[in-house]
């Protein structure tokens, strides 16, 4: 371990020699709400030396002494200029005012710094506030579905909120909510994501060139920051939609010192469908709902210390209660809970510390039965973690981040119990799987020259599967012939590895730059999936004796350019990615197969790779904003035990993927939004031949994913009407009429999903039509489509 500190030390010494500079540091906040602003630019007007605020709205900038102008600039806000004469370190708090003109800008990329300035590539930001003006399925604003519109991000079929970044699997996305890992980000079998946009401040997606700060996943990071809550006054917002309602309340705990936000959402599909279910019928007692609650509080203890407590709790519940004896009944609840407690401390203008304590829990369970037969299935994962992250601004050319992260994981593999009458089946409760995961990281964003800036990072990660654990000794047919017990804390298998992360930017003109990156990522958890649509039965499993850590290797180069006075941003990125030690269930494995054997007994191992080119053009400013993204890519998998060892396209392999997103502010009251997507049909496996056994038709299937379904394309439209922002008030005594701003504001969003009613394929199946007796029996192929044209209306309000 001490060798590692040596490496850290080496990095530390470069260029840290004190120079004749002073530090300007502080926070950038929204003047109206007191929310800190993430990614706001702060720079010296004369030298253009600048930086951007971090996740907590903090910045630190090293400048030469003397008179100069420090500017805070952030899209959607008025620039704030401060003339200073720098003679010592200085603290400035910027209270940014929203621009008076029309609405807030639709901001997607480059908030961190100008598109062409940052060393990071493959980074995308989404402005949450504009999401509600875009069309959404059944009016449910969905962060993850908006992410699917970005180049390099594929969706998983109709209505699904799962996302796949540059050919990586769904488990390779690190989804963080206020620094806590969210393991299953979907509700209703993937149709809706768990993030309630009302409670979210900032969304950042990192597709490639992942900084060393992040780890534990092979493909991408989706970093979501919750709002802190308004610390100026009590405010609320909410909405009533077709299938759910939302309400958020925020306000000061102590004015200007602390605030809270509480946000809740619940669907009412169950309430809506209940009257239509025959009370005598087989489905009389069935119901489905989900809800989630986000809560956060923060308190500024001193100018140097700030404390945050945030939590998320969400559950899906699906029930079926048969009304007659003998009919089946079951109850399936599942969901996430996360808690993170964070403490920010500013040691001095040049050193910022964030410490986070994390709890995350995902649970799935199924309890059901019919007559005397009872069946139960459960699985889950629980994390306890601690992160200590330093940001240091030692020199005008260096911005350092380093820290350590630790998580204790407790995995519950598929646990089955079965009873038939009084007989309880002899299925052991499998051991929970315990594991330590730790990492040390260091990164330096270093401006080598005015043209060349590099981000050098390295991460050292460690993972150990430890007892208590019961290992089954299996015979050739997979039957248990004995067990081996491991004591609590006893190491069963461990892994460690170095993860270099390098990216560089070279400026080639006033408005253009070339960037390149390489990263190696180790991922110690795997999601073993039974279905292709991300069902809650998917099980998280750790690396261990037979399951090796996933390795992601990504190489990317890109050209970035700002056009027309930075009104437009454009980029082209090309990437190649290798994914090693991928897992799948062996063909034919069922969720209930897991009893009396090791958690890895049904897994097969292989590799994947992906390469592609992404084109992106965005209009950032003006009444009309939006973007066009196009991706050409190829994503393959190869498993010795799947598809006879031949390579096959991954299910989320899309040769072409085009997205167009636009938003137009007509005036202060009307905003229009439209989206269009086109993508190559999903790869699927279909039968090519058939034969007869015992008088039934047996299908002989093609190569894995050997067919393409029809291409997917869809257009959605939305129109939002706000009430008048002001009203006339007549003073009774003077008779004078004045215009005042309304305190209560509301809006209607009318949307149409699938506007030209395209019957997009959801899946294909083969069946027969006709009857043998009628002599017209024939095999047919059928396509199932989910959503035809679907209008929706949502009413939103805030005060």
């Amino acid at each position: 371990m001490h060798r590692w500190f040596l490496v850290l030390g080496l990095f530390h010494t470069c260029g840290l020699v004190a120079q004749n500079t002073f530090t300007v540091s502080g926070y950038v906040k929204d003047a109206a709400t007191g929310e800190t602003l993430i990614g706001a630019n702060v720079y010296a007007k004369e030298t253009l030396k600048g930086t951007a605020t971090n996740t907590f709205g903090y910045f630190a900038l090293n400048l030469s002494p003397g008179p100069q102008t420090v500017v805070m600039s952030f899209v959607g806000y008025e620039d704030d200029e401060r003339v200073i004469d720098l003679k010592k370190d200085l603290v400035i708090t910027f209270e940014a005012r929203t621009k008076a003109i029309v609405a807030k800008e639709f901001e997607v990329l480059g908030k961190k710094a100008a598109n062409t300035e940052s060393t990071q590539m493959g980074v995308m930001d989404i402005d949450v506030q504009k999401l509600s003006t875009l069309p959404a399925l059944l009016g449910e604003v969905d962060i993850l579905k908006t992410i699917q519109f970005l180049p390099g991000v594929a969706s998983n079929g109709e209505g699904n909120s799962g996302f796949y970044v540059r050919g990586g699997g769904p488990d390779q996305n690190l989804i963080l909510l206020d620094n806590a890992t969210v393991y299953n980000a979907s509700h209703l079998f993937g149709f809706f994501s768990v993030f309630n946009a009302d409670a979210v401040k900032n969304i950042e997606l990192i597709k490639g060139g992942m900084p060393a700060l992040y780890g534990g996943r092979a493909s991408s990071v989706l970093d979501i920051t919750m709002k802190d809550g308004n610390n100026k006054g009590l405010h609320g917002q909410g909405g009533i939609g077709l299938i759910s309602s939302r309400f958020t309340l925020e306000g000061p705990l102590v004015k200007d010192k602390g605030s809270f936000i509480l946000s809740a959402r619940r669907t009412y599909i169950d309430v809506l469908t209940k009257p239509f279910l025959n009370p005598e019928g087989a489905f009389a007692g069935s119901g489905y709902y989900f809800y989630d609650v986000n809560a956060k509080a923060n308190y500024r203890i001193s100018d140097k210390d700030r404390f945050f407590l945030s939590g998320y709790f969400g559950r899906d519940v699906f029930t079926l209660t048969g009304s007659e004896p003998g009919s089946p009944d079951f109850r399936i609840p599942w969901g996430n809970a996360t808690v993170s407690a964070r403490w920010n401390h500013v040691f001095g203008p040049k050193l910022f510390l964030n410490t986070t304590a994390i709890f995350s829990d995902y649970k799935f369970s199924f309890k059901g039965g019919q007559d005397d037969f009872k069946f139960g299935l459960s699985s889950g994962i629980k994390d306890y973690g601690l992160k200590v992250d330093f940001s240091q601004y030692p020199h005008v050319r260096h911005e350092l981040k380093y820290g350590l992260q630790y998580t204790y994981h407790i995995y519950t593999p598929s646990t089955v119990d079965v009873e038939s009458g009084d007989t309880e089946f002899a299925i052991d409760t499998p051991s929970k799987l315990n594991a330590h995961e730790g990492a040390l990281y260091f990164q330096d964003d270093y401006s080598v020259t005015d043209q060349l800036r590099v981000n050098l990072g390295v991460r050292l990660s460690y993972f150990a599967h430890v007892g208590t654990f019961r290992e089954y000794v299996l015979d050739g047919n997979g039957n248990s012939v004995g067990t081996k017990e491991y004591a609590p804390g006893k190491k069963i298998k461990d892994y460690a590895g170095l993860e270099p992360r390098i990216s560089a930017r070279y400026t080639v003109g006033p408005n253009s730059s070339v960037k390149a990156s390489f990263n190696r990522n180790l991922q110690y958890v795997h999601l073993a999936s039974f279905s292709s649509v991300g069902l809650p039965t998917d099980v998280w499993i750790p690396s261990g004796t037979n399951v090796k850590p996933q390795v992601g290797l990504q190489y990317a180069v890109g050209y970035f350019r700002d056009l027309f006075d930075r009104k437009y941003e454009a980029s082209i990125e090309v990437y190649y990615k290798d994914m090693l030690n991928q897992i799948e269930y062996a063909e034919g494995t069922q969720p209930q197969d897991g009893g009396n054997t090791n958690y890895d007994a049904f897994l097969v191992f292989g590799k994947g790779w992906s390469y592609g080119a992404e084109f992106f053009l965005k209009r950032r400013l003006g009444k009309f904003t939006g973007w066009v993204g196009y991706t050409w890519s190829k994503t393959m998998r190869k498993f010795p035990d799947v598809n006879a060892g031949n390579e096959f396209p991954s299910r989320w392999d899309r040769r072409h993927d085009l997205s167009v997103v636009g938003s137009y502010d007509l005036n202060t009251r009307w905003t229009f939004g439209a989206t269009f997507v086109y993508s190559t049909g999903q790869a699927t496996t279909l039968p090519v031949q058939r034969y007869w056994i015992e008088g039934r038709v047996v299908s002989q299937f093609s190569e894995r994913n050997g067919f393409r379904m029809a291409p997917y394309h869809r257009m959605d439209l939305a129109a939002t009407l706000k009430n008048k922002p002001t009203k006339q008030v007549t003073d009774k005594t003077t008779g004078e009429t004045t215009t005042v701003e309304r305190k209560y504001r509301s809006s209607w969003t009318f949307a149409v999903y699938n506007a030209y009613n395209r019957a997009n394929p959801y899946f294909y199946f083969f069946t027969t039509e006709g009857t043998a007796g009628g002599g017209d029996l024939r095999p047919v192929a059928k396509q199932v489509s989910l959503f035809s044209i679907l209008p929706s209306v949502t009413w939103n309000f805030h005060f």
Binding site: F425, W692, I693, V698, Q700
Partner: protein, 319 residues
């Protein structure tokens, strides 16, 4: 608005279906074995070939799938015995057709309508015996197929009975077949339930001409080793049956008055692997909730199954 809301909820859950055309590639046809051997009976081998998925399902097409003039031998260790080709057709009497259906599991309508050939023998030297291993060799159309199977010890059911299901209002006649199994104390028993209604219809024909194994009724003792327990079985249905009870609310149920012949079959490991994957293959449609699975054949050089069945027979009178 109030009336509109539920409509959206229903639209969300409904979806829609349409027929499409899929261009299938030309894939080489393979030979398929459906062969069984049980104690006291000769081996029966049905040899067919795979067909393109969209070939019509009419009688001519089905007849064309049967492979004739193959050399099929079975060896129980005492040297190979060649099986005879026996063909059906319009020259057979209804009684002969019924017997052929019962023995081979082939549909009597098919046997009567077209000439289908199977391979079997009257040579008692290769009749099934419990515990014995049988090698199969098939030579046809320039292909050689081989396989080996063993007839396991049959495991008897303690008892079998009929019990009303009471699943619908005012229903007092429909129910399931039940069995009580005491699984032997050694791990590695594999079972398959088959049943056949041998009571007769008003027109004098037997209700089920062949034994039927309902899908999903092949199981192993991994979780029930050494236990005694009860389990229920639904009534299986013949493929594309147009009998009224297979197309109304009686589907899947036995009925008061039925007489059921039960074959409780013990299988080896590979045979169990085949029948479970076969059940899954036949029962699934599309790959939305899982990867499609080909039936796991134990035939080298072809597809299908060569299975020794350790049969425990029993009878239930539904009363």
């Amino acid at each position: 608005m109030k009336r509109l809301l539920p409509l959206f909820a229903i639209a969300l859950l409904a979806g829609c279906e349409k027929e499409i055309t899929v261009d299938l590639p030309d894939t080489p046809e393979q030979l398929v074995v459906e062969g069984t051997i049980e104690p006291g009976l000769p081996p029966f081998v049905i040899l067919t070939r795979t067909q393109s998925y969209f070939e019509p399902l009419d009688l001519t097409s089905i007849a064309n799938s049967f492979v004739r003039n193959a050399i099929v031998t079975v060896d129980n260790g005492n040297g190979p015995v060649q099986l005879d080709q026996v063909c059906s057709g319009s020259d057979l009497s209804p009684e002969e057709i019924a017997l052929a259906a019962e023995l081979t599991g082939l549909d009597p309508t098919l046997l009567a309508a077209v000439q289908v050939c199977i391979y079997t023998t009257t040579n008692t030297a290769v009749f099934g015996e419990v515990g014995r291993t049988y090698s199969l060799r098939v030579e046809a159309e320039d292909k050689v197929l081989t396989s080996v199977t063993t007839i396991p010890n049959p495991v008897p059911l303690d008892s079998v009975w009929f019990k009303l299901a009471l699943q619908r209002p005012n229903d007092d006649s429909l129910g399931y077949a039940w069995g009580r199994l005491s699984d032997p104390d050694t791990m590695g028993n594999h079972y398959r339930w088959m049943a056949r209604r041998i009571s007769h219809r008003a027109n004098g024909s037997v209700e089920d001409p062949t034994f039927i194994s309902p899908l999903g009724n092949t199981f192993e003792d991994k979780f029930v080793n050494g236990l005694t327990f009860d389990f229920s079985f639904i009534r299986g249905r013949q493929f594309y049956s147009d009998q009224p009870e297979d197309n109304n609310e009686e589907t899947g149920f036995f009925k008061l008055g039925d007489t059921i012949a039960v074959k409780f079959v013990s299988l080896g490991y590979n045979e169990h692997e085949f029948y479970t994957s076969y059940d899954e293959n036949v029962g699934s449609s599309g790959d939305l909730f899982g990867t499609p699975v080909n039936a796991k054949s134990n035939i080298d050089g072809g597809l299908g199954i060569w299975a020794g069945w350790g049969v425990y027979p029993d009878t239930i009178i539904c009363q």
